[in-house]
């Protein structure tokens, strides 16, 4: 893919090992977003950037969400705000397991 691939011409691997989260990791420890990245890369492999941006939009959004969790945090924030509003208005009391002792039952 690059014009002059020095590393494969010389047979060395200076930084190709660190390019992808889904590459080979020490102690075989998988990244948290390994599956999402793999899906995205497999979807967009070999079809060029313009087509990939159009066709792999969903996979990319999932991968981005896994990495940064923006939508998750927005949801949590909305729920918490609504809960605080309801508590202030007195319409909602959190159930027992959401306050007090941490429950350790499975």
């Amino acid at each position: 893919m690059p014009l002059v691939d020095i590393q494969s011409w010389l047979g060395i691997n200076i930084d190709r090992w660190m390019l992808l989260q889904s590459g080979e990791q020490p102690y075989k420890q998988a990244a948290r977003c390994h599956a999402f990245e793999k899906e995205w890369v497999e979807c967009s492999h070999g079809i060029g950037q313009i087509r990939a941006k159009k066709e792999c939009q969903l996979e990319f959004e999932d991968f981005f969400e896994c990495m940064y969790r923006k939508k998750t945090r927005q949801r949590m924030h909305a729920i918490r705000e609504q809960r605080d509003k309801l508590i202030k208005e007195g319409k909602y009391t959190p159930p027992a397991h959401h306050t007090g002792q941490p429950d350790q039952n499975p």
């Binding site: 899906e39 969400e65 896994c66 809960r83 959190p94 499975p106």
Partner: protein, 144 residues
């Protein structure tokens, strides 16, 4: 001057007795070589003890890792049950809280895929007191 009739402070007749005035640097103790030898010998004994204890510690560590591997299914099952229970509780709370909010789909997944995505401790503990979340996150640290 006044001659020999004046009382002067003179040594006693016969002079003083002899005393030691020469340098006294006795040759004593171990030689340098033997001191080095003793030091190196003590160090060698120390190294041997440390190395053999380290080997023993490695064996003990392997035993502990094996025990962890043996208990893994149980621990993983407990952890999974706890996660699912917390997710269920959060879902029910969410359905109660967001009842009157327009356009809110309860339990909607933020991902387009329907693969199981392990929830963050952020999500699991989001409706609980912050202390529990901090305990989960920072209660046990691998590093010191």
């Amino acid at each position: 001057m006044a001659g020999s009739k004046v009382k002067q402070d003179m040594p006693p007749p016969g002079g003083y007795s002899a005393f030691d005035y020469k340098r006294n640097l006795p040759k004593r103790g171990l030689s340098g070589y033997s001191m080095f030898g003793i030091g190196i010998g003590i160090m060698a004994i120390g190294y041997w003890r440390i190395f053999s204890w380290n080997r023993e510690r490695r064996r003990l560590l392997i035993e502990e890792l094996e025990a962890r591997i043996a208990l893994m299914p149980l621990i993983q099952a407990e952890h999974d049950r706890r996660t699912l229970r917390m997710l269920r509780e959060n879902l029910e709370e969410e359905s109660i809280i967001m009842k009157d909010v327009p356009g809110w789909k309860v339990g909607e997944s933020v991902f387009h895929t329907d693969r199981w995505v392990p929830p963050l401790s952020d999500e699991l503990f989001s409706l609980r007191p912050r202390e529990q979340y901090l305990h989960k996150r920072f209660g046990f640290l691998w590093y010191v």
